[in-house]
């Protein structure tokens, strides 16, 4: 009935009420849990606020000067102090425990997650699917399947945020960070960079497309670039000369990489660590820090010679490397010009165009 109010105001009201939302759509498996914690926190906040307001307003009315001209001096009450220390503490501890459980849920991925890789750079997101599909500022995921994002920045701090999924993780230069989620509702959801990263920080946004499994397969098939990440990685493995030392033989200069991903390895200083994505990336860029027990520290560093995309390719490759068969085949067909020597500290492998390796890739 916009006769009584101006049409402009009416339009505004209509627009507002139809779009009015207090929280983003719950589009992931964890979102309801996050919202539950949120409602609990709001609940205790409202109670706390109401208590304080009631006390302040109530006392102000009852003990205002006209009604109570003489104040009664009261020193304090240990009992009251204890009460209003213990009750808030208890409530905050509940928040702590609940929040911690939720945190571990969000940051500890399940083992059967679909891997995807994210490289953030000023001012765009590059997303890579294992099958070789590349996206910019968009992320297609299937619903109903856990997806794990392994992320790294090429330059400054960014932060990958999907409000509808209630997940967010910083994307840092120099090390991988991961986050996982399971999308539950098909649709298009905002993707934001939430860590200030320079001029076009507010343009570093995109969309997450959650699709039914069928739609997702269709999309995968239609957007593949031809070679998967692992295939690219295999190519790099040969062209950078990795296969010269990591042959898989017992007498090789470098450790066997087949099935190494996820296993426990012993370092030269005696400690044990898990060979995860970060470890692999670090071993390529800072091999001197991660020398494996029983091997000489002769691996040259590839810092500055591989991009983050290339590192992701190599990591994907090693992740799925189960036998060294093809490694040894590429060795036989590749020319490696004696550039990796046992005694030469400080020399670097020279990139080779691996004639043989490129034949392998076109399946």
């Amino acid at each position: 009935m916009h006769y009584f109010i101006s049409p402009v105001l009416w339009q505004f009201l209509v627009k507002w009420l139809t779009h009015f939302a207090l929280f983003p759509p719950e589009a992931s498996s964890i979102a309801p849990y996050a919202d539950a914690l949120y409602f609990f926190l709001i609940f205790i906040s409202v109670i706390g606020m109401a208590a304080v307001a009631a006390l302040v307003i109530g006392f102000s009315v009852v003990y205002r000067q006209e009604r109570n001209p003489v104040a009664t001096q009261i020193e304090g009450s240990t009992l009251l102090e204890a009460t209003w220390t213990i009750i808030p503490l208890a409530l905050f501890m509940i928040c702590f425990v609940w929040g911690a459980l939720l945190y571990f849920r969000i940051y500890d991925p399940p083992t059967n997650a679909l891997d995807m890789y994210v490289v953030g750079k000023q001012w765009m997101w590059k997303i890579e699917h294992p099958g070789g599909q590349h996206e910019i500022d968009a992320l297609h995921v299937p619903i109903g399947r856990p997806v794990q994002l392994t992320m790294i920045s090429q330059d400054v701090f960014h932060s990958f945020s999907i409000p509808a999924f209630r997940v967010k993780r910083e994307v840092i230069p120099g090390r991988y960070t991961t986050v996982w989620f399971t999308a539950t509702k098909p649709g298009r959801y905002h993707l934001f960079c939430t860590q200030y990263c320079g001029t076009l920080h507010s343009q570093m946004i995109g969309w997450v497309y959650a699709m039914t499994p069928d739609d997702y397969q269709a999309w995968l098939a239609s957007s593949t670039s031809g070679s998967s990440l692992a295939q690219n990685g295999e190519r790099l493995f040969a062209s950078l000369g990795c296969n010269a030392c990591h042959t898989g033989e017992a007498s090789a200069r470098g450790p066997n990489l087949a099935k190494v991903y996820g296993s426990r390895v012993q370092l030269a200083n005696g400690s044990y660590t898990t060979a995860n994505d970060a470890f692999l990336r670090n071993s390529i860029l800072n091999p001197a820090v991660n020398v494996i027990a029983g091997y000489a520290p002769i691996m040259p560093t590839y810092q500055g010679q591989i991009s983050e995309d290339g590192l992701i390719d190599l990591v994907e490759y090693i992740k799925h490397l189960h036998t060294n068969e093809r490694v040894q085949q590429t060795l036989n067909t590749t020319q490696v010009q004696g550039s990796v020597s046992a005694s030469g500290a400080g020399s670097t492998a020279q990139p080779q165009t691996a004639h043989g390796a490129s034949r392998m890739v076109n399946q």
Partner: protein
């Protein structure tokens, strides 16, 4: 509304003949003063100046955010606006706000001393503040800084070509201003108390400043060295934060937040001290649970040093360290809650009046409670994942800093205005300003909680259109808020000449400062006071005023 204001007979009242204001004349007597009261006034003028610059930037930010596109200012300019807004408001306004103005003025008087322990260092503090301020203005005029007030590396070290070094130096210098003020306060409180003034007879205002000073003194140097390292990395290229040289950008985060978290307690504790004084005076009652409130201040200071990584929960710290910091964050929330309840209990069986300082104090209690509770939201790990780096955080810290601290500052300025100037401010206008501020504040910042949960990131010049309505509400509130802050400038200045003469103790309050003339003598006390009564002793005060003859003039 009834009132406890008791002014001398205005038809014959005159200001005292000798005060710290007319003791000496001339610019040099102000710029080379050692008098803590004059230095407090110098600070008051300076921080007000910087507040309005920072406020103007806030205004521009909110204007830009009226529309979803980045159409009022270019993205780079917007980035500079929020950076400078943060730097100016935090380092040049909030950190010195209560300590350097009201604290400087009152701490010596409240402990019964003639001045702070080191008057020359006090003056040096102000000059360092001015140098820091000038450097920031220089950075601003020369083109601005756009690192964000958090100077995150490697953005600030390698990816920006704005005036990062100038801004870093400005904060470095201003930091030393803060350190020296804190040092002065600690030594004064330890060593210059009048005979009989034991620790537990001190007003709670002094306790809060003591706690804040510990933080200033121990935390600020870490910020200083961090800025030095950033400047070295930017100039000569050392690589302590640079991953390509083996450094770790996360190290910067740890070092930066090691100061910057205690910094927020540096900012709020003095404000809490003001609230203790105001609530007690306008309920005519001792603060409920004096010991608890005093120890809470110290507890906040101590715990405040151990929670810094709650700014880094999603940055790749290990799950276990995240656990520890979240737990400690919950612990640091408890003393603040204790204080709020103690203040509320002070009202019980009091005799309450509603002068402007009391209205601001009520505003503080409400808004700080909301702000503090939303801090619990953020301290809860899993919730923080969704909420961090969004407008929820922006709303949270504005609630505690502006709704809390700035209201406490205004409460303090109004409460001690008669003591500092000898004149009363106009009560009607001041109540209007308080109400305007309160309403404007809620309208500005409450929508930001909602838009934050919806996912709107902070530091965005442009945003998705569905967030526009809430942003428009927020900007509307900001205009109201601006009026609320402009009004005091106008009427307080007016009151300097036309305000009613206040007399010694217009509020009938306890405390040493209210037993001396308004404005005070340069040496504060005619003779050294000897204290043999407790703080907030209203019975003693009632007795005294029965016998006392008030003379003014």
């Amino acid at each position: 509304m009834s009132t406890i204001v008791s002014l001398p007979d205005q038809s014959t009242a005159k200001l005292p003949k000798h005060t710290y204001l007319n003791n000496e004349y001339g610019l040099k007597s102000w710029l080379l003063t050692g008098d803590h009261k004059r230095i407090a006034i110098l600070y008051l003028i300076s921080i007000t100046f910087f507040f309005f610059i920072g406020g103007a930037m806030a205004g521009l930010i909110r204007l830009e955010l009226l529309t979803p596109q980045s159409d009022l200012v270019a993205a780079d300019t917007y980035n500079k606006l929020f950076t400078m807004h943060g730097i100016i408001m935090i380092f040049l306004f909030l950190v010195p706000s209560v300590p350097a103005t009201i604290g400087n003025f009152l701490i010596p008087i409240m402990v019964g001393a003639k001045d702070l322990a080191f008057p020359k260092i006090n003056l040096l503090s102000w000059y360092l503040y001015i140098v820091g301020g000038c450097l920031i203005l220089w950075a601003l005029i020369a083109g601005g800084v756009d690192t964000g007030w958090t100077f995150t590396t490697p953005l600030s070290t390698h990816y920006l070509n704005t005036h990062v070094i100038t801004a870093g130096m400005a904060i470095f210098v201003a930091g030393f201003s803060s350190i020296f003020t804190g040092l002065n306060f600690i030594v004064t409180i330890h060593r210059m108390r009048a005979p009989g003034m034991t620790w537990f007879r001190l007003p709670l205002f002094v306790w809060s400043h003591y706690a804040a000073s510990i933080l200033m003194v121990l935390g600020t140097p870490v910020l200083a060295i961090t800025l030095v390292l950033v400047i070295l990395e930017r100039t000569i290229g050392i690589g302590v934060f640079d991953p390509t040289k083996g450094g770790d950008p996360l190290l910067f985060q740890h070092l930066f937040w090691f100061y910057s978290h205690p910094a927020v307690y540096i900012m709020i504790l003095p404000g809490m001290g003001v609230i203790s004084e105001v609530i007690s005076t306008f309920s005519r009652k001792r603060v409920f649970g004096y010991t608890a409130v005093a120890f809470s201040s110290v507890a906040i200071a101590v715990f405040g040093f151990f929670v810094w990584a709650h700014h880094m929960f999603i940055m790749g710290v290990s799950n276990y360290s995240a656990l520890v910091f979240s737990l400690l964050t919950m612990l640091v929330a408890v003393p603040s809650a204790i204080k709020i309840f103690n203040w509320a209990a002070t009202l019980y069986k009091g005799s309450i009046t509603f002068e402007t300082p009391m209205l601001y104090a009520f505003g503080f209690m409400g808004l700080f409670t909301i702000g503090g509770l939303t801090g619990v939201f953020l301290g809860s790990l899993g919730m923080d994942i969704h909420l961090t780096e969004t407008y929820f955080v922006v709303a949270h810290f504005h609630f505690v800093m502006v709704g809390g601290m700035l209201m406490a500052f205004l409460a303090g300025v109004h409460f001690w205005w008669p003591k500092i100037t000898g004149r009363m401010y106009p009560e009607g206008l001041s109540k209007l300003a308080a109400g305007t501020t309160f309403i404007g504040f809620i309208l500005t910042f409450f929508p930001q909680f909602i838009v934050g949960y919806l996912g709107m990131p902070r530091r965005y010049a442009a945003y998705p259109p569905e967030f526009q309505v809430l942003n428009v509400l927020s900007t509307a509130g900001a205009s109201v808020l601006g009026i609320g802050y402009l009004l005091p400038i106008l009427y307080l200045t007016w009151s300097l000449k036309y305000g009613k003469i206040a007399g010694n103790n217009p509020w009938q309050a306890t405390g040493l400062e209210w037993q001396i003339q308004s404005p005070p003598l340069t040496e504060n006390f005619v003779e050294t006071p000897v204290i043999d009564y407790e703080a907030y002793d209203y019975e003693w005060l009632a007795n005294k005023t029965k016998h006392e003859v008030q003379t003014v003039g």
